[in-house]
Amino acid sequence: MFYRDNGELKTSYGADAQIFALAQERWAFIAFMVAAFAVVPLVADAYWLRAVLIPFLVLSLAAVGLNILVGYCGQISLGAGAFMGIGAYAAYNLHVRIPGMPLVLSLAGGGLAATLAGMVFGIPSLRVRGLYLAVATLAAQFFSDWAFLRLGWLSNDSSSGSVTVSGLEAFGVRLDTPQAIYVFCLAVVTVLGLAAKNLVRGAAGRQWMAIRDMDVAASVIGVNPVMAKLSAFAVSSFLIGSAGALWGFMHLGSWEPSAFSIDRSFQLLFMVIIGGLGSIAGGFMGAAFIVLVPLALNRLLPIAGDALGMPFSTAAASHAESMLFGALIVWFLIVEPHGLARLWSLARQRARLWPFAHGAGA
């Protein structure tokens, strides 16, 4: 009743292909973005910003990147953590070794370094797929683990691969408060997220999906599989690498190689699966889920434990987390492979019809 698409007639193809087809949705999105930029920094406390919103933003970007590779192009990757790390360490080197290097350029440089690495490690995808490709991406992961630790020049000759950044500023604004960091991350993620959305709804996205759905047929209609797969790896790695640089610079401040280990790769993959394969919005939803659930478990389990008379240690919380995520992955893959994003779009469709149960075309 309130959420209708009556009277929404498009008079041009450009209008038909918009991200938000309904005027109501467009307004809602604009209002949401205004609130995110202007209201949240004034209202949210430092804990929420540091522990929830900033990691959510950065991991969303990484999840969107991984979704392009896994969800849109169908190339499985278990090495996303490594590409985050490459982005972080490359950005670090640019930041530290070039005096006066602008922060945004360092971050972009990190993304580009990850892009190159992604294209190199994406070469096996031209020959193999599925599990075999997963193994190739694991090779990238373990090699990077070793390189961050042992190749001293990557971490400015730190013995354990741990590095620190400080005194960051962008466009003349010092990024030393959670609010400033939050707004910066929000801006970067918004720009890159929109770019990603534009790519997937255009010719590039169609190429990637063609390769995913049937790559022999795709080449028969003129999609060059080499270009399509490598471009997917390139774009995906750029986003993941930029996210890695943001993660290190904005969220952690100082990090070690273990921040980008295989656990990070699995975490990103879980975000993509739970959020929904083949959906930009899904990357955000999956990231939100993965960030919030452990916090919720940490709060709720002790309460449940007290109620049941069983003490819950932090180890138990992390085991419960593993079990919950594992079970959810399986559940989503069986029941709704398109994840939370599909559930959300189904809910929106219901809302458009409400209070009716079926539409004219149903």
Binding site: S12, Y13, G14, D16, A17, A195, A196, N198, L199, G202, A203, A204, R206, Q207, M209, A210, R212, D213, M214, V216, A217, A218, S219, V220, I221, G222, V223, N224, P225, S231, A234, V235, G278
Partner: protein, 277 residues
């Protein structure tokens, strides 16, 4: 067009023998392991004609199409398209040369809508690079709209308008076949390879599909190579026919010539049977 009519209309689209050859298949042989799928097959396709390839099951018809398409590489023989020999390039290069095809088993992109499936056919003509697409302004947006306009014309032509935003996996088989054809047409091909386009269709659907194939041939001048089992269709719409059996060519000529050739009759019906009138 009445399929059951035993007197055949003279195809108004028959081309004269002086038209140029668009596809030239010479002595092609193809083997898989020890199995010989094609043995020394030669035929040509003239510009603007509709050429049918027929034969019993397992005769090698799909393999022949796959060779023309660049999916399989024949061990012997050459295939020339407009005089250029190919077979060394990649499969997607063949599409670039102007050859499109539909598939027997419908290789549609199940995760995409009808519109998106057909739009992928425009990929070869998409010029804007990734960066421009990411920004989606100016040239790349205009190009996207132009492709959309072209695809909408094809959708109109094949009467797919009501389903343009529907996921192809949700469509019935007959409609999926039409989407397959639409996607091939989006390449603006000079040569269209159709692999059993009428398979699994009822009479009305077959009539529609025949109409579409004839319209494509007449309006756009597209040459067509078509594999088909329905003899009525073959007799009615094709200009010339190639008959394969066990990978060898056993007949080549107009439909009327071919259907009375003793080798062809034997291949389909066996020896000592009276041919149908």
């Amino acid at each position: 067009m009445n399929m059951s009519d035993s007197t055949h209309l003279e195809p108004s689209h028959a081309r004269e023998a002086s038209a140029g050859v668009i596809l030239d298949v010479q002595h092609v042989s193809l083997s898989f392991g020890g199995v010989k799928a094609l043995s020394d097959v030669s035929f040509d396709v003239r510009e603007g004609e509709i050429r049918a390839i027929i034969g019993p099951n397992g005769a090698g018809k799909s393999s022949m199409l796959n060779c023309i398409n660049g999916v399989y590489r024949p061990q012997q023989g050459t295939i020339r398209f407009r005089g250029c020999e190919f077979g060394h390039g990649a499969t997607h290069e063949v599409a670039r040369m102007g050859i499109a095809r539909t598939f027997q088993n419908l290789a549609l992109f199940k995760g995409m809508s009808v519109l998106d499936n057909v739009m992928t056919g425009r990929n070869l003509r998409t010029k804007s690079n990734l960066l421009l697409q990411a920004l989606r302004v100016g040239p790349s947006l205009r190009e996207e709209v132009r492709h959309r306009e072209f695809v909408e014309r094809i959708i109109d032509f094949l009467q797919l308008q009501p389903w343009r935003k529907v996921l192809v996996a949700h469509l019935p088989y007959g409609l999926q076949k039409r989407v397959d054809l639409a996607r091939a047409l989006a390449l603006e091909p000079q040569l269209l390879l159709l692999d059993e386009p009428m398979a699994g269709m009822n009479v009305e659907e077959k009539q529609d599909m025949c109409r579409y194939v004839l319209d494509v041939n007449e309006e756009f001048g597209t040459s067509v190579v078509l594999i088909e089992h329905d003899m009525g269709v073959v007799m009615d719409i094709s200009d010339r026919v190639v008959v394969l059996d066990y990978g060898r060519k056993i007949g080549d000529g107009t439909p009327l010539e071919v259907r009375t050739m003793p080798e062809v009759v034997e291949a389909y019906l066996g020896r000592a049977e009276q041919p149908q009138g």
